[in-house]
Point group: C2
DNA sequence: ATAGATACTTGATGCAATCAAGCATCATCG
DNA sequence: CGATGATGCTTGATTGCATCAAGTATCTAT
């Protein structure tokens, strides 16, 4: 289990609530991944492969080194969840494609990752809208 | 950089907003930690040492194996950010104490981890309250 | 045609996380 | 008391993530 990332000394109620929310989210994600035999990184990569993607593209999206992606994809490929094809017009590049097994496994994972759905289910439609608005506004100058 | 944990195929605006918020939070935490030469796990452990704590206690709070804590503390101790004392009344147990250096470093880290503060600063007092309420309500049945 | 950029891989290293085993200490109960 | 079991922590081994430095193959552009 990844360690919870948050200041324990959160000074305001709002900070505490944010931390608890983020922590719960992260834990739920990891739990769902583990349940399907995936690491967090693997689940995350699989999730980005709804459409074929290149290694470079993945690395950029994930904000990590390309060699990291190489490793993760290698493991997924070893389990036949993913397949590497060479790009039709650029032979340096690989197209990573989720296999049907990968599709199925990932669907199961998302099904298990009920956190966001459950959180939303606790709110009325109006509350959902307000939360969305507030989260966006809170993010405003922090990106 | 840790990979962003979230479904890319978030189906609703609310889900997307949650994911983006969590992702931004996590990234900000990691960035702040890195800036002070800490890993996420190290920052997290340091943060729990405002008061002395035992290894077992830490492991329980973090939801991980005790041997994991042993490693992390060993590294922090190697940098003199933390000190191990044997518990006065139970000689099996260690009391982990942050050194003044550790206090200072962690204070710097929290100062850098401006995410929550900045997010809050984007909201009026009333909006903060509403966000807090909504986050708690959303968490309601999901813990 | 060559020089440089780009896409990816390989190898090496450090850290986090987990498991299995082990040691020391404590706590309990006969 | 003394044996038994539980508890707190460490060690050693293994796996995976992440990053860096180097290398190969391919593309691009002059």
């Amino acid at each position: 289990m990844a360690v919870p990332s948050g200041p324990v000394t959160a000074s305001t109620d709002a900070e505490r609530a944010m931390f608890q929310f983020v922590d719960a989210y992260d834990r739920a994600y990891e739990t769902a991944a583990t349940k399907h035999g995936l690491s967090v990184a693997q689940a995350c990569v699989l999730g980005r492969l709804a459409d074929p993607r290149g290694m470079r593209e993945l690395a950029d999206e994930l904000g990590c080194d390309a060699s990291n992606v190489t490793q993760i994809i290698a493991r997924l490929e070893g389990r036949a969840l993913v397949q590497r094809r060479t790009h039709p017009s650029d032979r340096r590049s690989r197209q990573i494609v989720r296999t049907p097994d990968g599709d199925a496994l990932y669907a199961g994972f998302e099904e298990s990752f009920a956190f966001a759905r459950a959180a939303i289910a606790n709110l009325s439609a109006e509350e959902q809208d307000r939360l969305t608005t507030l989260l966006r506004k809170a993010l405003g100058t922090t990106d």
